[in-house]
């Protein structure tokens, strides 16, 4: 067992930073299934979430305010003008590869645009939609 510890630590170190979109999706899906055992991620619901105007923030009423309506293309921050790389992992392989970063931006942007935290199901839907886009 002792000999295994460094291997296990190594594994965790790798998984803590690098993950695939599928792995990150699986995490949110499992969390959503705890509340609703029949939950299935839906790209359609994710697309709706992405395009919907929430109207909570005047400057950022929707995800598309900064990310544009096409997640395979880059956008720009609606206030600062800073370039934003595409959200769809097929267009930008860096997306959904770091669970902590994904969670940070869901926390910030859901708070900003929806005025509340997103549910695990919404996050899983959102990622499912983005993984579909090419």
């Amino acid at each position: 067992m002792k000999a295994l510890i460094p291997v296990l630590i190594g594994l965790f170190a790798v998984t803590a930073q690098a993950a695939t979109p599928n792995e990150i999706l699986a995490g949110y899906r499992a969390e959503a299934a705890k509340l609703n055992p029949r939950y299935q991620p839906s790209a359609e619901l994710g697309a709706h979430l992405f395009a919907r105007g929430f109207g909570v923030s005047a400057r950022m009423p929707a995800c598309t305010s900064c990310h544009t309506e096409d997640p395979t293309r880059g956008g720009s921050h609606v206030v600062t003008g800073k370039a934003i790389q595409p959200l769809a992992p097929r267009a930008n392989p860096e997306r959904f590869s770091d669970p902590a970063k994904v969670e940070k931006w869901f926390r910030r942007n859901c708070g900003e645009v929806l005025g509340r935290p997103c549910s695990a199901a919404e996050k899983a839907d959102f990622i499912t939609f983005l993984m579909r886009e090419r």
């Binding site: 400057r59 921050h77 206030v79 600062t80 003008g81 800073k82 910030r108 708070g111």
Partner: protein, 166 residues
């Protein structure tokens, strides 16, 4: 007889050249925590610490939960690391001037210092409002090498595509 004069001239010339280089060179000082780029630099240019005085940076970092209309809240260790870096490399009050907001609830803006205003007083208002610029804090809109910390006049391209001319 001419030697001391020439020497003085040379000295003066090299001093003024150093002054010019300094104003154009806003590369980030060494020692930035990784979070400085990852957090601050995620939404806007990771601004050179020299563009605000220490007191203004402290006030920016004390109000991250309402950061120019956004919630940019950070965990305490990250916030402290970034604040230490900004304050330690902050601009000199005499040279820069403060943002002039210390007495109000307003957040300090690095575009409100006397130095910034003097440097940009020739820029027409229409450029600041241009759709691709969105405001004077978007350094990289015209300073094409701003990401690398270089603000030379010859690198400036205005939003209408024209090079800057005095």
């Amino acid at each position: 007889m001419g030697t001391p004069g020439r020497l003085a001239n040379l000295l003066f010339l090299s001093l003024s050249l150093a002054g010019v280089a300094q104003a154009d060179d806003l590369r980030l000082p060494a020692g930035a925590p990784a979070a400085f780029q990852n957090e601050c630099g995620a939404c806007h240019l990771a601004f050179p610490p020299r563009l605000l005085v220490a007191e203004d940076w402290r006030r920016v970092m004390a109000g991250l939960d309402r950061h120019y209309g956004d919630n940019a809240g950070l965990d305490a260790p990250t916030r402290r690391a970034i604040e230490t870096y900004l304050v330690g490399n902050a601009g000199k009050p005499k040279k820069l001037g403060s943002s002039g907001t210390a007495a109000s609830d307003e957040a300090p803006r690095l575009t409100a210092t006397a130095w910034f205003k003097r440097k940009h007083h020739e820029v027409p208002q229409a450029y600041w409002r241009h759709a691709e610029v969105r405001g004077p804090s978007n350094c990289a809109a015209c300073h094409k090498q701003a990401v690398a910390g270089s603000y030379r006049e010859r690198e400036i391209v205005m939003p209408d595509g024209h090079r800057w001319q005095d």
